[in-house]
Amino acid sequence: MTGPQPLSLRDWLDALVAATEEVAVCALGLDGVKVLELRDQPPVGLAGSYLAVLSDQASVHVALVARIEDCQTLGKTLLALGPEDPPLAPADLADAFGEIVNILAGSLKSKLADRDATMRLGLPIFINGHITPSPGLSTATARLKLGSIEAEAMILRTSDRRARKAGEFLAVPG
């Protein structure tokens, strides 16, 4: 008898897209999510929140990134604020957008629990920049439409043992 197959990058991305759909509808009150494009390269020049998911099988970061003004819109939507309300201060934007990704990661963990029950979630960080691909880092990105907003859901998986131990990757200013 064999156990569950290890999760592929596509498994992670599919679960993240499904989690984004759930959060878009239940937490943001949007109609849903439309997948516009799948890519294996991280986007450039977008801002968003990243959260580490570590398990016995994998070291992954999940992220949701968008143009900074669209991050504002999504953050304000989470807080039930409208376009007439002033922009969120940077710390409040990071906090609100981080919470969106925190809920995404919790949903993703639930969706993949039968494949990997050892997942542990980190805490979100907000980065206004982009990821530099490095040896051992695999990425999968889904360009999405959330309501009227384009955003990108991203999986970054580190296979290098040292990097896995550190759970780190390099971000550079956008």
Partner: protein, 120 residues
């Protein structure tokens, strides 16, 4: 009733407060704490009737807070409001003395279902 909301996200504390109002609990006095350490200080200073607590937080997480409260035998009702709701976490929460676990994203009805038996 005095309710203490514990979450490291200011945004989520605001959302929990808004949901409490929408669920019909707007008359209760609500206080906030940003992590388990702050919450433990607040509970020692003036015990609230109910704690609504995130699980995954810096400094002291929600489970550690619950264990500290129970170790001190503080008579406070405790429930989790967290992004993770796996069966294992629900089991751990219950065994540690939590009355409920509300998983994010949550609904007003979900809040009522969890809180009505506790608050009434």
């Amino acid at each position: 009733m005095r309710i203490l909301i514990v979450d490291d996200s200011k945004a989520m504390r605001a959302i929990v407060m808004r949901t409490l109002r929408q669920a019909g609990y707007g008359d209760h006095k609500v206080e906030e704490a940003g992590n388990g350490v702050e919450a433990l200080k607040a509970i020692r200073a003036s015990a609230p009737d109910l704690v609504l607590c995130d699980w995954n937080m810096p400094e002291m997480n929600g489970l550690e807070l619950l264990q500290a409260i129970r170790a001190e035998r503080a008579p406070v009702k405790f429930g989790f409001v967290t992004s993770e709701g796996s069966p294992e976490m629900r089991k751990t929460a219950k065994e540690s003395g939590a009355l409920f676990l509300i998983a994010k994203p949550f609904t007003v009805d979900g809040f009522r279902a969890a809180l009505d038996p506790v608050i009434s």
